[in-house]
């Protein structure tokens, strides 16, 4: 940390800049100056895959402010963009580059989701020079400092980004152990990082790269297949990331083995189920509806409310609201909680029976 940064973060400067904070002044001079907040300038936008008729995928290289504390392979970051120069919208994206140190450049790789304001903006409109707002890197789905000899990385679709960061970090760390990299995709033409993966596959170094396309006849994920590939896989440290069906398949293969670490890149869909009972009351707005079984955020939005929200997957805590009574189920873990006056992430909490939320 430089002298300038230490001074800017000092209590004396904070007292002088009170009540607004020093960043509110620095940003007016240069958006890349910050003492506490993290922002980044886009320095490169690279199209990874651009298949006509399918949403394009791009890798953005970001130069963060000096306040960026670096990241561990597998972590994600909240990226906020100002759409039409006015409305800041924030979503979470996984970092695809190998682990970074404070102030280092890093990349995010994302698909322009047709309904996603932020991902479409980043892939289709962001240019070198565009400024974005960041959080620090977050997430516990990371490689440990001491990497085990034998590891297995499983991913599906866009879930490849965090394990790609892990794979790249392993290479940079000159990991000498045995790595199995298993990736499921729709078809070879949708494959992101194809050239790089091919290169890794051919270069050896104990990394076994397998790109599988079950729709084209490749074997689906099963205990038998895993056993053949990685004997005794249940005890091999494994990182898996992908859509809910893949994660559920992986979970079935591992029977609660502590060796398995998971990350959803999209929470399992909780469609309205017939089993849902009771009423949901949003007390501050007075809106009430029959419980549809969907998450509180979805139900609030269906009633016309606009609660604050960010990642919509339980990561960023932007949507935390006070549940004054009732039971909610965490749609990621299935855990139920009935504590009164509890702060819950409404994007991953679905009511079980009657429920009242302070919104």
């Amino acid at each position: 940390m430089g002298i300038a940064t230490s001074v800017l973060r000092s209590r004396a400067v904070a007292a002088l800049a009170s009540p607004h904070g020093v960043d509110r002044y620095l940003e007016l001079v240069n958006p890349m100056w910050a003492a506490h907040e993290v922002r980044a300038r886009v320095v490169d936008v690279h199209r990874e895959v651009d298949v006509p008729g399918h949403p394009p995928v791009a890798t953005l290289t970001l130069q963060p402010t000096s306040t960026w504390r670096g990241h561990r392979a597998g972590q994600h970051v909240q990226v906020g963009v100002e759409i039409d120069g006015a409305r800041r919208t924030t979503r979470v994206f996984t970092i695809s580059s190998p682990e970074s140190r404070p102030g280092d450049r890093f990349t995010i790789t994302l698909r322009a989701n047709p309904e996603g304001l932020v991902s479409r903006y980043l892939v289709e409109q962001a240019r070198p020079g565009t400024m974005v707002h960041l959080s620090q890197a977050q997430g516990e789905f990371v490689l440990p400092d001491a990497v085990p000899e034998r590891i297995l990385l499983v991913s599906g679709g866009s879930g490849i980004t965090p394990v790609m960061s892990m794979l790249r970090s392993l290479q940079r760390r000159t990991h000498r152990g045995q790595v199995t990299f298993l990736h499921y995709a729709q078809s070879p033409e949708h494959q992101i990082f194809a050239a790089e993966l091919d290169e890794i596959r051919r270069s050896g170094h104990g990394i076994d790269v397998r790109l599988l396309h079950p729709e084209l006849g490749d074997p689906a994920l099963s205990p038998a297949y895993l056993e053949r590939l990685v004997p005794g896989y249940r005890d091999v440290p494994t990182w898996a990331c992908g859509p809910a069906p893949l994660i559920e398949a992986v979970q079935r293969c591992y029977d609660d083995s502590p060796a398995l670490r998971l990350e959803y890149f999209k929470p399992p869909k909780v469609a309205g189920s017939d089993a849902a009972e009771g009423d949901v009351v949003f007390s501050r707005s007075g809106a009430t509806g029959a419980n549809t079984g969907a998450t509180l955020l979805d139900q609030a939005e269906a009633l016309g409310l606009k609660p604050e929200s960010g990642c919509r997957m339980g990561i960023c805590f932007s949507c935390v609201s006070r549940k004054s009574e009732g039971t909610v189920r965490n749609v990621l873990t299935g855990e139920e909680s009935s504590l009164p006056d509890e702060d819950v992430r409404i994007c991953v909490s679905a009511p079980v029976g009657d429920c009242t939320v302070d919104l």
Binding site: A15, R24, Y25, D84, A86, T90
Partner: protein
């Protein structure tokens, strides 16, 4: 602003009608409410880049005045300029930025620097407490006697229906003191000292509020009365006095603008019974009758934080204030069509009217309710 009174005004202000809600039938009230809702929807749908650019420019200007003001204290001959600069900074920060941002007018931008949940203003009143007493109590129960503590702020007699007490002989003096120490008055507002004295509130209820106020007061005092003066070395006393003056200028300005919002003659107050089971149309109606505007140019409106459009602000407290002038045209048109009063006038006229009320209400009522307001005022002035 203690204001002396010399002669009665020739023109009688419109009388606050005791049965004011009777002016519109239930159906008319509903239609009136719907027209107001339509204005709101139209503006909401149109919010965007221009509004964002506007508030960001105001913030930039405020920060520039602030930095210029702090810097100019190093040049003793520029002292008046430094004070003026810092005063403008504080006025912009408190009024066009702080007050409006804390109303949530810019929450749709998603910018934490302009979010009602996070904004803290350059003022000794903690924003958290302000949002409760102002956004909730005052804006919900506007001008309802016994509910809206902004009627006289628990210190002054600003309405005939507040029973007279010899204490109120000091009305003009209290108003003067409140003007000079306005930010402190605002900070203490939530402590409800008058209710403590009356035994309606326990001192324990204030403990948490007290801690919040002290935290904010310490920060503000440290900055304005210790650190910045100390940074100017031997000029410490000059900078200290300059900062105090800037705070005073802001206090006097804010007090005067705010008192013109609800206290000029012709602004109605309401009883709790009148407002029971109020409909949305009625709520709009009450906001309209309970507020008054000040006429002026663009710069004037900016410096008042657009509280010169108090009527529009009370009708639509969470719409960006820069929209009030355009909204005002529609509101006046609606008022004409429904034959409703729209209280507005130049600053001098509104201030005079407020000063007169402060003085008149210092004295006990001499008149019975039947007499015309003109006679009542003449008598009060003559007394």
């Amino acid at each position: 602003m203690t204001a002396t009174q010399d002669r009665p005004t020739t023109e009688a202000p419109p009388a606050p009608d005791a049965t004011i809600f009777g002016r519109l039938g239930p159906e008319q009230l509903e239609a009136f409410g719907e027209e107001m809702d339509a204005i709101r929807q139209r503006v909401l749908a149109d919010l965007g880049e221009a509004d964002a650019a506007y508030i960001r420019n105001v913030v930039k200007a405020q920060r520039a005045f602030e930095i210029a003001g702090r810097a100019l204290f190093y040049l003793p001959p520029a002292w008046p300029l430094a004070v003026a600069s810092l005063s403008v900074s504080k006025i912009l920060d408190n009024m066009e930025i702080g007050h409006n941002v804390m109303h949530g007018q810019y929450d749709w931008m998603g910018d934490p620097g302009l979010s009602s949940r996070m904004y803290e203003w350059d003022n000794v009143c903690p924003s958290e407490q302000w949002k409760y007493s102002h956004n909730y109590i005052h804006h919900t129960y506007t001008n309802i006697l016994g509910k809206d503590r902004d009627i006289g702020y628990g210190v002054l007699r600003m309405d005939e229906d507040q029973p007279w007490h010899p204490y109120y002989l000091g009305n003009p003096l209290y108003a003067f003191l409140l003007m000079v120490f306005f930010e402190w008055g605002v900070a203490m507002h939530d402590l409800e000292v008058e209710n403590l004295v009356a035994g309606k509130r326990k001192i324990e209820e204030n403990r948490a509020l007290h801690a919040g106020i002290m935290r904010k007061v310490k920060r503000q005092a440290l900055k304005d009365y210790v650190l910045f003066p100390a940074l100017t070395g031997p000029l410490f006393p000059l900078t200290f006095a300059g900062n105090a003056t800037a705070n005073l200028v802001r206090n006097v300005w804010a007090f005067n603008i705010i008192f013109c919002g609800h206290f000029p003659a012709g602004v109605a107050t309401f009883s709790q019974e009148e407002c029971e089971d109020e409909s949305r149309g009625q709520w709009y109606f009450r906001q309209l009758l309970g507020s008054a505007n000040i006429t002026g140019g663009k710069l004037f409106h900016l410096m008042t934080g657009n509280l010169s459009h108090q009527i529009e602000h009370h009708l639509f407290p969470d719409l960006p204030a820069r929209r009030y002038p355009e909204i005002a045209e529609d509101v006046r048109d609606i008022c004409e069509r429904y034959d409703l009063p729209y209280n507005t006038g130049p600053l001098g006229k509104q201030l005079f009217s407020v000063a007169k009320k402060i003085c008149r209400l210092a004295l006990p009522d001499r008149r019975t309710k039947e007499e015309s307001p003109v006679a009542e005022q003449d008598a009060a002035v003559a007394a």
